[in-house]
Symmetry: C2
């Protein structure tokens, strides 16, 4: 591949002021970066739109609460993000031009990153895309949250927030495959229909329709054993009083609060119910399970082959669109994992006849 | 012992209206109850003033959130409560008059209870009193919360709320014996001095002095590994942002909320910090560990013999005083476990020379 002299990149140029996150970014041109020893030049194919990226957009003064991977963004830097792509030039013996990789990259047409930030993808058709959803972070998050942290059992009632989202749409399917009764909470009728018809949920609750508590109580007549929550706020408040004795809450995130001040809110306050019902509320980061990724990925692949699981993503095209697509993530604009496609996917090219 | 025809009892006669809990009770006379098959007549010596008793004083309509042992109190019933005493008459082969027992009884001069609600105390001097604090529920709660649920390690920082209270005063000593750095939070200078001088805490914070967050941050320069909390509210809010990665919060109760409406509050809300720091918040009831009581009691006794632990309680006298003493529990009127002594303790009589 011919390497151009100039490339387009998306820079982070302003801290958020309200919900119009697209205003925080600006498209610009720069020279192709030099590839130092230990680095590689990557052509991103898919960039993941991840909720945690919103946290890094807080001013540095709002980071007192805890460590964020990578820390706060500096104004002017090229937006970092996870994704998959193809090696174009390599300064590291483990990677060669043409290799397909997944890992930390940037919102750019080409990006130079340390080799340690990437892993090679298996030479399977569809890897570039699947590695960003069911065979990557979102799939592993759903898997470990259900199997390890919550230890959901057949017959138990599992409630999932963000049920049509990147992690949620996989958690719904996995919990069904585990023999659980599964209730999804999502925003809007379309998503609720999708959860029921395409993912096999036993019930779906549209949180935009109001009266969440009553709807959740009706959908969970025996209470909730496992609550997978990446949203927080009113959805979390509705679920806690329905938790059964020894119920498990897995906190995957709190997207409800990512744009609210410093995101550090009062609480937890429902300690009375936590105590008497011996609830366990467990914070979760998938990276804690890295040693078990290979075994989990193998199980997920087998479940896909059996037809028990399928990937759920929404792909939007064009680096120019990155700011608007990212903003859409927080407006619930997508079903499944939201991906931005920067370049055509070489694994999806029509094969030569 | 001669059994009188009439006895005094304390009845629960009105639901709470504000903090003057003594108004909820009334002293009255009744005939000595008949002892049915399987029951025993007990002469209570010490009655424990327990925070959970306040929860049972809520109207039935406020019990939707979860099960409370025994359910809501009925107006007019004799106040039930835990304590220790001496068997006066027995309708069950396991108990004989003169046996010293601990378990569920009532605020009364004599009370008939099912034999299953009691356990026999070992014939050791001091058992009647110690069984209500360090060698009973409070001691076992502190023990299992630290050893099993939090799994506190030597060198870790442990923060305890209600640090001069029934459970807290024991948890402070146990955590010190485990090699932890221990910080107690209590109300008032006297209690803070007691925690430092008598219990060996490394730091004490007076939550009545204000600025809890700043004081806690100063007392925990490396953050908090284990947070034992039976209070909740502002103290909980102050601790969560200081929790270290993989910190453990054990929720022993939420005394802060027991008199607030139905006690079921919004939240937990601090999900952002719970997620990124992978905190674990675990509700706790000591009864879940009943199979391990004998081993734990044996360890606690050995620690007492080594001088590492000592009982902390406050004894007030007279059944008449029960309503006022109980109210005092929620005003922080006592150091250590608050006990009401109904009759003289036969184990504390001067021995015959």
């Amino acid at each position: 591949m011919k390497i151009p002299g100039d490339i387009r990149v998306v820079r982070y140029v302003a801290h958020p002021d309200g919900a119009e996150l697209r205003k925080c970014f600006s498209l610009s041109q720069m020279r192709v970066p030099e590839v130092d020893q230990g680095e590689v030049l990557v052509r991103p194919i898919y960039l993941r739109m991840d909720p945690y990226q919103r946290i890094r957009m807080r001013p540095e003064s709002d980071f007192e609460g805890g460590p964020i991977r990578g820390g706060p963004l500096r104004l002017g830097e090229v937006e970092p993000g996870r994704g998959s792509g193809v090696i174009v030039q390599s300064g590291h013996p483990s990677f060669s031009p043409g290799d397909h990789v997944s890992g930390e990259m940037h919102w750019a047409e080409l990006t130079a990153v340390p080799a340690a930030a990437l892993e090679k993808l298996p030479p399977l058709r569809g890897s570039l895309r699947l590695s960003q959803s069911i065979l990557g972070g979102p799939g592993l998050t759903a898997y470990f949250a259900l199997h390890e942290t919550a230890r959901a059992l057949a017959g138990e009632t599992v409630v999932v927030t963000g049920a049509a989202g990147g992690v949620g749409a996989l958690a719904i399917q996995m919990a069904k495959a585990m023999g659980c009764r599964v209730v999804g909470i999502a925003g809007g009728e379309e998503k609720c229909r999708f959860i029921m018809e395409n993912l096999g949920a036993d019930a779906a609750i549209d949180h935009r329709a109001g009266e969440i508590e009553a709807a959740l109580a009706r959908a969970c007549p025996d209470g909730i054993d496992v609550f997978l929550d990446g949203v927080g706020g009113a959805l979390h408040d509705a679920a806690i009083p329905l938790m059964r004795v020894r119920g498990r809450v897995v906190v995957l995130g709190a997207i409800d609060r990512y744009d609210a001040g410093n995101g550090i809110d009062l609480g937890p306050r429902n300690l009375y119910l936590i105590a008497i019902n011996r609830l366990r509320i467990q914070g979760f980061l998938v990276g804690d399970h890295v040693a078990d990724y290979p075994a989990a990925l193998s199980e997920i692949r087998q479940a896909i082959d059996r037809g028990q699981l399928h990937a759920v993503d929404t792909v939007r095209e064009g680096l120019n669109e990155a700011p608007a697509v990212f903003e859409g993530l927080f407006r619930g604009a997508a079903i499944g994992k939201l991906l931005l496609q920067v370049h055509p996917d070489p694994e999806e090219q029509p094969e030569a006849a």
